[in-house]
Structure formats: structure tokens, C-alpha cells
């Protein structure tokens, strides 16, 4: 499959590798993986890890699920940067979008006569996905779940909407940009406000920790869903009149 990818980028002028090069590459990767396996077998097991420490400090986190406690409280800096990375990806993708600012964020093509079965299914599926996403977000406080899972479920539902051909998403209106950035904005604002007084950045006050985490996760869910959907709509251009303007020359 990879030779086909290369074929399209270099239009078939790239010569095949010599067999001696192939053998050298094979030996090198074999030696590397052998070395990694040997290192894994020979090294001593790491200590008990941080599970016990996390468990002993759970009552300071504001939530009951240890994964959420680590992601949103003990190591929330990590998650903050993750959402920032996602936003950078969104900005890069945004530059490839059609720059029609006069369009609204979601446009419905009423003339599109799609599959009625698919339309009927989507009417249920999107509602179900929205409820499921809210459940995943809420349940993240005390059981597996959280912003990333909830956001990707919403994004999946919107991808299904986009694939039905009736709905088109445009990301240059102010509303859309707000959706893309609200996750990082709320996270930074909450983290910054925590720094007033004698606390450090992102050190939530104990009595509000649970609520602050829920607010951050809610905003992050919206942004993650929007950014993942932007990634998909940026790749999928089925209507030449809608997306030709922003399409990069390939």
C-alpha cells in the first residue's frame, strides 16, 4: 500500500530500492527490535508506580475516578497542553478550509434527496450519540469516561451527518472559531483564576474542584468534538462548489 502512496506523490518516477539496501534495512530493524526486547527482559521491573499515591490522595481531587483525577487535577498541565496541541492542529487545518466568512457554520442542503433510510437512522442515532456523550462526560467523575471520549462520540455523530450529504460545516464564522477555542480558553481561565491567592496555577480550591473539573471537561468536550469534525470535513471535499476554493494544490 505504501508504494501506491509514494506513486501518487512522485508520479511514479521513484526507483525501487536495491535488494542490498532492503536486506540492510531488515537487519537493522531486526537488531533494533531484538535489542528493545532484550532490554525489556533484562531490566528490572519498575517500582509499584504511582497508583498507591494516587489512591491515597483521591479525597483531594474532587472526583472519584482515579483516571479523571490524574488527567484533570494531579497532572492537568498535561491535558491542558494536549488540548493546545489539538487547537494547533485545528488552526493548521483551518487554513485549508474555504474562506467563505459569509456562510453560516452549519448549512442544510434541503434539495439533497439522500437515502431516506439513512436519514431516518441518523435522526435516532445523532440524538442517541448526544445523550451517550453527555453520559460519558458526567460519568467521568466516578467511572471510566471523560471529555475525550464524549467529544469523539459527538464528532462521530457529526461525521455521520456530514456523510449523509445534507449537512455542510464551515469553520470560518466566529461561532465556529469560538467552538474550536472554548476548551483551551476555559482551561486557561480556570487555571489562571486558581493562581490568585496563595495557590499555584491549576491548583483548584478543594471545595470547588469537582465543579471546576466538570466545567473544564464540558468546554473541552465541545472543542474536541469541533476539532475532530474539522479534521474530517477538511479532508472530505465532496462538493466542488463548496470547497474548491480552499483546496490546496496537490
Amino acid at each position: 500500500m505504501f508504494d501506491r502512496l509514494v506513486l501518487h506523490e512522485t508520479s511514479g518516477t521513484k526507483p525501487a530500492l536495491k535488494s542490498s539496501t532492503k536486506i540492510a534495512c531488515g537487519l537493522a530493524s531486526f537488531a533494533l527490535s531484538g535489542g528493545l526486547i532484550a532490554a525489556l527482559l533484562l531490566s528490572e521491573r519498575a517500582g509499584p508506580g504511582l497508583a498507591a499515591l494516587t489512591a491515597s490522595r483521591m479525597d483531594e481531587s474532587g472526583v472519584e475516578n482515579p483516571v479523571t483525577a490524574v488527567l484533570l487535577n494531579f497532572r492537568s498541565y498535561d491535558t491542558l497542553l494536549e488540548i493546545a496541541v489539538l487547537l494547533i492542529v485545528a488552526v493548521a487545518m483551518l487554513s485549508m478550509q474555504p474562506s467563505a466568512t459569509n456562510r453560516s457554520m452549519v448549512e442544510v442542503n434541503h434539495r439533497h434527496s439522500g437515502d431516506p433510510v439513512l436519514a431516518g437512522l441518523l435522526r435516532w442515532l445523532v440524538a442517541l450519540a448526544t445523550v451517550l456523550s453527555g453520559y460519558l462526560l458526567w460519568t467521568g467523575a466516578y467511572a471510566p469516561g471523560g471529555a475525550f471520549q464524549a467529544g469523539s462520540v459527538i464528532a462521530g455523530a457529526c461525521v455521520a451527518l456530514k456523510l449523509s450529504g445534507r449537512y455542510h460545516f464551515f469553520w470560518h464564522p466566529l461561532k465556529a472559531r469560538l467552538l474550536l477555542t472554548i476548551g483551551l480558553a476555559v482551561f486557561v481561565l480556570v487555571g489562571g483564576f486558581c493562581a490568585t491567592g496563595d495557590k499555584r496555577v491549576l491548583e483548584y480550591p478543594l471545595e470547588y474542584a469537582g465543579m471546576l473539573i466538570l466545567i473544564i471537561e464540558l468546554a473541552a468536550t465541545v472543542s474536541i468534538a469541533a476539532i475532530l469534525l474539522l479534521l474530517f470535513t477538511g479532508l472530505q471535499d465532496d462538493k466542488p462548489d463548496a470547497t474548491q476554493a480552499g483546496r490546496p494544490s496537490t
Partner: protein, 101 residues
Amino acid sequence: MLELAIDLLLAAGAITLAVLSLAAKKVFTAIVLYVSLGLLVTLIWARLGAWDIAIAEAAIGAGLTGALLLAAWRRLDDNRTAEEGVADGKLKLDGEDSEHV
């Protein structure tokens, strides 16, 4: 004993799907196999008791990554001469099915 058998089956299946996905001649086949691999890896995470990662893997790894790869595959396809217009529409529906799994 039964649990060991299930674990061995999952591990063997994951490795088989990974090899098949890498060795597939067609990009579309490779993508479908990769999505199947994601679903199998979801089961493996569930067997390991990592439910958070299992949910994330199912939603992002298998679902959205599959959709993104299929969209990228269509872009690759558009770059070729538009010879498979009918087959393209059919395969797009197939892609939707794998998204809903």
C-alpha cells in the same frame, strides 16, 4: 483456562490483523483491516481492565481514525483520473458502515 484461551485468541488476532493491514495491496483494504484492529485492541484493553483507554480506543482509534483515513483515501482517489465514479459511491457507503460499528 478459558480466559487464557480468550487472551491468546485476542493477541493472535491483533497481530494477524496488524500484519494483514500492513501487507494489504489496496489502501481501502488496509484501512478496513486497521479499523478492525482498533476494535480488537479495544477488547484487549477491556481484558486488561483499562476501561478508559478501551472507550477512547473504540471512539477515536477505531471510529474517528477510520473515518479520517477513509476521507484521506478518497482524496488520494480523487487525485487519480475519475474512472471509478460508481465504485467510489459504493465504497463510501461501506465506509459509513464501518463507522457505525
